[in-house]
């Protein structure tokens, strides 16, 4: 624990600009560096170094065994024209664009409803249970729920005049199934966060609006939603980033199929990197994922000023 902290023994002569500074403060500064040391070391070795590695490997052709050769932008050209990677990007963006608005909208609605109630612990437990469940277990359960001969399809076929839908085997339905599971699995987290945000709305503000004649709808659209918007914005950024990283769910549910209908970017990276050991191509795809993430996050920060209300105080 403290093994990595070097004991300050002989102090070197103080630099000119530090002369006249009390000794205890100088010693304190050195301790500051020692305190951040373990994390700085860890970040350098386990994050910065692999990141540099990604950047380099993206320009190399290597499978781990043969000799590494530099290929310039060939990997990027290959990936950007690959139908499989194009399909992965499209699927991933679709998952993000479908699940983020629906997920956040549902979460706000539920949080507003819960805020009005005195007894809500049980509901919170129900909504949050999927969040504490591993995505692997979530996907394993839903994979069986979505069986063609399973209970969901059976119910639908009984109510609607159609054949039982084969959720995970039909290319048109599989992505919808993935979206349903994604929303189900992440809803509770946003409900809890939004509920906390609503409880932080000062009651005086709500009262003032009510006395001025605001009805429940006006209270929601004019008071609660604007005051909640900074939290909602932050949630949408996080939700977008994490849906761009969708892997666990599709790996179990469909393994990207049928016919790549649910292949996501990270699944593609995994497949190219660890299924085919094309480390260069996988790294290029990783860098493209980083680029997409940064562009979308920047865009969200760009448009936020039109939607997000920050209190001036």
């Amino acid at each position: 624990m403290t093994a990595s902290i070097p004991a300050p023994t002989a102090r070197p002569a103080a630099p000119r600009e530090l002369r006249g500074e009390p000794t205890w403060r100088r010693r304190r500064r050195r301790w500051g560096l020692a305190f951040v040391g373990p994390q700085v070391l860890g970040m350098t070795i386990f994050v910065a170094l692999p990141f540099a590695g990604s950047m380099l490997l993206a320009f190399a052709d290597w499978n781990g065994l043969t000799e590494l050769s530099w290929v310039g932008f060939d990997n990027f050209r290959d990936q950007l024209t690959s139908p499989k990677f194009g399909r992965s990007i499209l699927n991933t963006l679709l998952i993000a664009l479908i699940t983020v608005p629906i997920g956040l909208g549902l979460a706000v609605t539920i949080a507003v409803a819960l805020e009005k109630l005195k007894v809500r612990t049980l509901y919170l437990l129900l909504f949050f249970a999927p969040v504490v469940t591993s995505q692997v277990a979530v996907a394993t359960i839903w994979q069986q729920l979505f069986r063609a001969d399973g209970i969901v399809s059976g119910w639908i076929a009984r109510v609607l005049p159609i054949d039982p839908p084969n959720w995970l085997g039909d290319p048109r339905l599989a992505l919808i199934a993935v979206c349903i599971v994604t929303v189900w699995a992440s809803l509770g987290l946003n409900v809890v966060i939004f509920l906390a945000g609503l409880q932080n709305v000062p009651p005086t503000v709500v009262e003032a609006a009510r006395i001025d004649g605001a009805g429940p709808l006006a209270l929601f659209w004019r008071i609660r939603l604007p005051l909640l918007s900074p939290i909602m914005f932050f949630s949408s950024v996080i939700a977008f980033i994490s849906s761009l990283q969708t892997f666990d769910l599709v790996f179990i549910l469909t393994d990207g199929g049928p016919q790549d209908a649910t292949r996501t970017i990270v699944l593609h990276i995994y497949d190219v990197g660890f299924g085919r050991f094309q480390f260069g191509l996988a790294s290029a795809a990783s860098i493209i994922l980083l680029g997409i993430t940064l562009v979308i996050t920047a865009a969200q920060f760009g448009v936020q000023k039109y939607f997000v209300h920050y209190e001036e105080d």
Partner: protein
């Protein structure tokens, strides 16, 4: 002013005529809608349990019934003997325990230094920490695997434990925020009494950080417990598998016809965690409400 000083706001609302009768009606509607929504949320879990108690012929019968008849528990011993779930729990628990302990120490130390001990370059370093948070872990998956294989850590728990406990920029950021929320006089008083930074940190700051530490512990626990992609890439031997990894392997081998068996395995992997969640719900929900966003 209509509102008397010290009068609770709710009293004002409920005193308004007409409001009194409307409140119960909306409450009933809200409860009804939330019960339907809540049932939709737990249905997969209930179905998992019910299905795990069915025999194979019941799974093949048409139309499918929801309730098992007759009830059978035979899927459980079969699932447990097919794969080492006990071992996987042990692995998951000790990996999570070590990562939590390590992260709490290193992140609170770093957070304290970033908040309270200015040193040369500390600001630039902190901005660097924030920037690395933007890099999705998956982006470094391939070189990270190569680094682990160079270190000889592939198919070893070291590859999961050491990096997780030494490189967690979100944890550092969170702990810095918690240290900033402590009164500055606290550690200044300790310093004036002659305590060095180490003693100040361990004797004064750390005990006062307890709420922050428990929130971080919960977030790290959830994250570690459910981690899948990295264990999938890094571990090969079944006896090293974590719970999600073992369940994924189980599903791959037994996922065909007898899905009652798969649901028994799912129940074994989820129910203990759900029980733990219900027991510690207050603490978990509070932690997620205040700091849950960064954990994902």
């Amino acid at each position: 002013m209509l509102i008397a000083k010290g009068m609770p706001m709710s009293a004002v609302v409920f005193a308004a005529p007409g409001n009194r009768r409307r409140v119960p009606a909306t409450t009933v509607v809200l409860h009804t809608l939330l019960i339907v929504g809540g049932l939709a949320m737990v249905f997969p879990f209930i179905w998992m349990i019910l299905t795990s108690l069915k025999t194979l012929p019941q799974l093949l019968s048409e139309p499918l019934s929801l309730l098992p008849d007759p009830l059978t528990g035979e899927n459980y011993p079969e699932a447990l003997s097919a794969m080492p779930f006990g071992r996987a729990y042990l692995n998951s628990v000790y990996i999570a325990g070590l990562i939590i302990a390590g992260t709490l120490v290193t992140a609170s130390m770093a957070g304290y230094a970033f908040a309270r001990i200015p040193f040369r370059g500390s600001k630039a370093l902190f901005i660097g920490f924030l920037a690395t948070q933007m890099i999705p872990k998956q982006v470094t998956l391939v070189p990270f695997y190569l680094l682990m294989s160079r270190l000889g850590w592939v198919d070893s728990h070291l590859a999961l434990i050491v990096p997780a406990m030494l490189a967690n920029p979100f944890a550092v950021f969170l702990m810095r925020q918690f240290v900033l929320s402590l009164p500055k006089e606290l550690d200044e008083a300790a310093t004036c009494d002659g305590a060095g930074p180490v003693r100040t940190f361990f004797a004064v700051v750390l005990p006062n950080l307890r709420p922050g530490l428990s929130a971080l512990a919960i977030i790290v626990a959830l994250d570690t417990w459910n981690n899948f992609l990295f264990p999938l890439v890094l571990l090969n031997s079944t006896e090293l598998f974590t719970v999600p990894l073992l369940l994924a392997g189980f599903e791959g081998q037994h996922g065909g016809v007898n899905y009652g068996l798969v649901m028994a395995a799912s129940a074994v992997s989820t129910v203990p965690v759900l029980i733990l969640f219900v027991i510690a719900q207050k603490r978990i929900l509070n932690s997620m409400a205040t700091s849950g966003l960064g954990g994902r």
